[in-house]
């Protein structure tokens, strides 16, 4: 395998509703920042790949229009995934393994404020038996939380503790300027339920935003970045599409992706996991083997600001940032997609090759 490192990460502020800027105007400065911080131009990039969802934009092929933000002339080698940008990063990592290019730009964007994300989440379900019921992402996550509570693997206080930590951590993150104020567990538990058993703090607020990452392979990574975050393992796995066919109290795909990416080898100092619901962070911590010594979601995580299609790429970026700034030497970034943590991607990064 060829050594590949995350050398830069940039993200737009996660805003509840960016009514001023369109997608291109949100993406453009983020891509520029990611390239500028490592002294690269678009013409230096061997492969460009993005992740986004046309259902959010309400425009077919919206990802083609987003290329206006990149500068795609003369024609560039380019790809897109209709998934979170973390899967675009995976494609870029595979592309860099070919060995003929050394650099890749990954970006993703999501404007959840244009429509109802919960309805969009229904549209990804089985079209014959489940989607016509319009269960929505929140209701399905509620079923999962109920199953976990009934199994005794989590408590409502555990869930509130995740939310409380997220809110406190997000106060220090400039990328989440509209984070909810800090609140302790008792206070959160006194609030009403939104979708049983979930309370407002258990559900990530939908936001608008974008993120970009630059990957560089081999010796060139150290030329553009003092402390590259070397990808020591990356893997993604999928559970069955039908939530009814799963034991929702477990997440075999996350466990397997974690094992194959090397999460279980220990030594993870910081983990950024994409959990749009509080109970899912607890399930992921268990399946990925993240013990008490691991700092989970010091950015505040998706629970503080959830830009659909971006949150997974941002988790990898936030984790890599801890290596870039020298505060950690082994970190984990996680992304999810589909209902109830159906698909999971794990990216383990280290300070040394």
């Amino acid at each position: 395998m060829r050594d590949v490192a995350v050398v830069s990460f940039a993200q737009a502020p996660n805003l509840r509703a960016d009514r001023e800027r369109n997608e291109v105007e949100i993406v453009m400065p983020v891509v520029r920042e990611a390239l500028d911080s490592v002294g690269l131009e678009q013409s230096d990039i061997g492969f460009t790949v993005s992740g986004s969802c046309d259902y959010l934009t309400g425009v077919p092929f919206s990802f083609v229009m987003a290329l206006d933000a990149v500068g795609a002339w003369p024609p560039i080698e380019e790809s897109h995934v209709e998934m979170d940008g973390a899967w675009a990063l995976y494609e870029a990592w595979v592309r860099l393994q070919h060995g003929d290019i050394d650099t890749a730009l990954i970006y993703s964007f999501g404007k959840t404020s244009l429509t109802d994300l919960d309805k969009v989440m229904s549209c990804q379900l089985d079209p014959y038996t489940l989607m016509p019921l319009w269960p929505g992402g929140i209701s399905l996550a509620g079923l999962q939380a109920s199953a976990m509570l009934a199994a005794g693997t989590v408590s409502e206080a555990d869930m509130a503790a995740v939310a409380s930590h997220s809110r406190e951590a997000a106060q220090g993150n400039p990328a989440i300027p509209e984070a909810e104020g800090p609140a302790d567990v008792d206070e959160l538990l006194s609030r009403p339920r939104v979708a049983h058993p979930l309370r407002e703090h258990d559900i990530a607020p939908s936001t608008d935003g974008a993120a970009a990452i630059v990957l560089v392979a081999g010796d060139r990574a150290a030329e553009v970045c003092d402390k590259p975050a070397w990808i020591s393992g990356i893997d993604h796995r999928v559970d069955t599409h039908a939530p009814g066919n799963r034991d929702l109290t477990t997440c075999p795909s996350a466990r397997m992706a974690g094992e194959r990416a090397g999460a279980g080898r220990g030594g993870i100092e910081v983990a950024e996991v994409y959990a749009p619901f509080s109970h899912q962070q607890l399930l992921l911590a268990s399946e990925l083997g993240l013990g008490d010594g691991v700092d989970i979601n010091p950015s505040g995580g998706a629970l503080a600001g959830h830009t659909f299609m971006v949150a997974g790429l941002a988790r990898i970026g936030e984790a890599a940032r801890r290596i870039h700034d020298g505060t950690a030497s082994r970190v984990l970034g996680h992304a999810t997609a589909g209902p109830c943590l159906q698909q999971n991607l794990v990216c383990v990064m280290e300070a040394g090759r």
Binding site: N22, E23, E25, M28, G58, A69, A72, W73, C123, P127
Partner: protein
């Protein structure tokens, strides 16, 4: 005996959107409100994009300089529509054309009327027919259609880069 196969089910889907035009297109729409067509210039190449989307697609740079372009231009290519689409209220056949407005570097799409469909041709000079100013809003619907100006055709050299 085998049951009749079910060959389809109907699952109505409706998603509502509130589109954000963005800063560049907001300025474009405000221009339309005043009967102006505002393009934006690429800082690297000088090319004027109309309608603008806030960036130069060739360079990925913000386009901050506003440029008013003319409401007349040259047909670079066209299509004669002979089918009635569900959303159209026009009499068929009618003409859709790519029109390179004077001062713009990218053609834009509009309907051409007051022309015999057998007369439409590349290089034909056309101009916008606007609604009465009292009806103007922040929308391209302020322009009803384009029609021939009667000028001599533009030489192919002047638009061949845009075909």
């Amino acid at each position: 005996m085998a049951e009749d196969p079910i060959t389809g089910i109907v699952c109505p889907i409706r998603l509502d959107y509130t589109i954000t035009p963005g800063r560049a297109q907001t300025r474009f729409l405000r221009g339309l409100e005043n009967g102006k067509l505002l393009g934006q210039r690429c800082p690297a190449t000088g090319k004027v994009y109309m309608p603008p989307r806030g960036s130069s697609p060739t360079h990925g740079l913000p386009t901050t300089e506003e440029v008013e372009v003319a409401d007349r231009g040259t047909v670079t290519t066209f299509c004669i529509v002979n089918l009635q689409f569900a959303s159209t209220v026009r009499e068929i056949p009618y003409v859709c054309a790519q029109i390179l407005l004077d001062g713009a570097d990218i053609p834009f799409f509009f309907v051409v009327q007051e022309v015999d469909v057998n007369e439409i041709r590349m290089g034909m000079r056309v101009e916008a027919v606007w609604k009465d100013p009292s009806e103007w809003g922040p929308t391209l619907e302020n322009i009803l259609f384009f029609k021939p100006t009667g000028e001599a055709d533009a030489p192919r050299e002047s638009y061949k880069e845009h075909v």
